[in-house]
Symmetry: C2
Subunit: 190 residues, 2 copies
């Protein structure tokens, strides 16, 4: 949560983001107008332009913000010991999704933004690989590459169905499932 931002900015951006998300549920981005967003967000149309150049700029900025937060979470995670689990990290990821659920739902779920999803996967792949490999004590590197792709796709899929299903489970519960899935499957490498 950005504490350094003016309350007013935080609220207007939230309102606009929610409005955009709810519009994206009904129609594709290319026929969503600034006017609609402003109206639904219950803000003056001019206010939109104080923050974004147009609708595409808005989506791009919002996506970048999410990516930045992902990065931040992952970068700030350092396991205490060699055998430390990924659990705390995964919990934070689910919390992040929860904080941005309206938008994340439409970006990740079906009819979502394929590019966004791909960037997300790449991010997870690049950033988490080291930790997972260390944790699992990998011997067979080649086969593991595939398993790692499998993990990444599985996780993002899990994100999507959790969000689409209305987030019935808590982030902690979901993190538990996720870690379990990852570790169980990794038994083949032992």
């Amino acid at each position: 949560m950005k504490k350094n931002e003016d309350r007013r900015i935080r609220k207007t951006k939230k309102a606009m983001s929610d409005a955009l998300a709810s519009l994206l549920l009904k129609k594709p981005l290319n026929n969503i107008s600034v006017r609609e967003i402003a109206e639904l967000a219950d803000i003056n149309r001019g206010t939109f332009y104080l923050h974004y150049r147009d609708v595409y700029d808005m989506v791009e900025q919002l996506q970048n913000e999410i990516f930045e937060k992902f990065n931040e979470i992952i970068d700030n995670y350092e396991p205490k010991s060699e055998t430390d689990s990924l659990f705390p990290l995964i919990v934070e990821v689910f919390n992040l999704l929860a904080d941005n659920s309206e938008l994340a739902k439409v970006l990740i779920s079906k009819n979502g933004d394929a590019i966004f999803l791909d960037k997300l996967k790449n991010l997870l792949r690049d950033k988490c690989l080291v930790n997972v490999k260390k944790l699992l004590k990998i011997k067979n590197e080649d086969e593991f590459q595939y398993y790692y792709d499998y993990i990444i796709a599985g996780c993002t899929g899990l994100f999507g169905s959790w969000l689409a299903g209305g987030m019935k489970e808590t982030p902690v519960e979901m993190a538990g499932y996720t870690e379990e899935f990852i570790m169980k499957g990794a038994d083949i490498f032992k």
Copy 2:
């Protein structure tokens, strides 16, 4: 909905009102601080004082606003014919409650403000008596007085349980029930 008010004012007041309502669920008015309201509403504390003198003033103003809207609804209702039902009027009343549900819930329900409830009953009594009497074609005036008190208490009770139950039914459905109850019981006067 007050269209003449600045968006910002509308939103701030809504936030403060919701905050107050949610605090009233947990504790009595006399130990709810301005600080708490501002914090929960996510507004600057100083902003509170731009609108209200203190917490009591706030409650009073909010109650008055609700009463004014009640009055407005009732005053603007004129039956087309002698036999016209109260249905449209009742629907509007339930809509009004829905629009102010957070606050109305705590004011009307148990642990609510007894004075508020009493004022509400008196308002309904005074304003609706004419219409109901006309509609029911009353002969026995004396006994009807009691029946009318009975109706009023019944209606406000219905308001309370609908709000407390989370407003599962639509205003139109509730208005249907309400009118049915009133008319059925009134058969004894025919």
